[in-house]
Symmetry: C2
Subunit: 214 residues, 2 copies
């Protein structure tokens, strides 16, 4: 149950409502992520989202027009912080391609695989075919951007004679792939075979760097 900010009554009146609204929107988004993660889109009840946000069912519909829009809105809201982060890791082009690649991959592992974000990834895998908008949005804003960054670094490495040229054969997909699986594995199979994300990451980067070595 996410509590709405309890704005004191003696705060400058102006903006009280806006603050509350914003806080409530956040609470709804958090609650939606929790509920959808727990049971999937179809089985999720708006009543449960409302209760978890500390709000009545009708209120949910003041913020989102439908269950679909709640879902899509939640995914987008949860992804925006990540997207803004992505710019800030252009990385130092002075470094070797290996170092930059390692740094970028670490970024993805830590930002995408940690916390809530991996639930979103799983939801997109799970519900993607029923929400083509969302799958496209995710691909466009996360996967293809990530691949572009990785592709650029690899190109740098190839140009510098540091890497072999494997481009054009699904290489960036292959690299992105490792992160996707780690997220899903953690959520689905961890009870049966725990995945040590740090070790998995090291192995992944090791294989990639050695595999690419010229």
């Amino acid at each position: 149950m996410t509590e709405v900010v309890d704005t004191p009554k003696d705060v400058p009146a102006i903006g009280r409502r806006e603050q509350q609204k914003e806080a409530k929107r956040l609470a709804l988004v958090d609650a939606a992520l929790a509920v959808f993660s727990r049971v999937g889109f179809a089985a999720a009840k708006i009543d449960d989202v409302a209760e978890e946000a500390g709000v009545s069912k009708g209120t949910v519909y003041l913020y989102f027009d439908s269950k679909e829009q709640l879902f899509e809105g939640m995914v987008k809201a949860k992804m925006i912080p990540l997207l803004s982060n992505m710019a800030e890791i252009a990385g130092d082009p002075q470094d070797s391609a290996s170092d930059r690649l390692r740094a970028h991959m670490r970024f993805f592992y830590s930002k995408i695989l940690n916390s809530d974000r991996r639930q979103i990834m799983r939801l997109i895998m799970a519900e993607g075919p029923n929400f083509p908008h969302l799958a496209e949005f995710y691909h466009k804003n996360v996967l293809s951007r990530g691949q572009a960054l990785i592709g650029a670094i690899i190109q740098q490495g190839v140009d510098a004679g540091e890497f072999r040229n494997l481009e054009g054969h699904g290489l960036t997909q292959n690299i992105a792939a490792g992160a996707l699986v780690a997220a899903i594995w953690k959520l689905v199979f961890d009870p049966f075979q725990p995945i040590d994300l740090e070790a998995y990451f090291e192995t992944h980067i090791d294989l990639v760097l050695n595999g690419l070595k010229a």
Copy 2:
């Protein structure tokens, strides 16, 4: 719409019913896979499964006790052929570890990623948290077996001085991972960025073999 075998009336009476029953069970399983793949577990309607199997709703309940059991039964039924195949590819221990690894990985790509089977994988990712039995079953019978085979081959390679020793750091998970992602990518993101499974496989095995090289 999967048609039930139309056993002619003048066939030796003995076994007519059993044949029909078996055929109907198969039709139901096929229909269930199709419908669950299309819309997920919660949104799937038993009526749709029945219609797609060319049968009435009541009949579904003559074969499966509940929607849950239909789902679980379908997954298991669809997996059995794969499991029996797995024995037959022990591979020739005379070959180099590299060759054997390549052969095994190709097997997984072709058997798991082709046809219906990848839909099952996606369903397990999607519904796994709601069906822990199934996730466990899948892990036990597919993933861990696959990893065991790969692990054995890598051990051979390490013993022969062909591979570096990276064991114990999520290596087999990492290798299995590539196949999982390929399957999911194909189903979720293919419309936006088609994945060439053959090229992807070659890149994957290339990275792994070069990455492992002693």
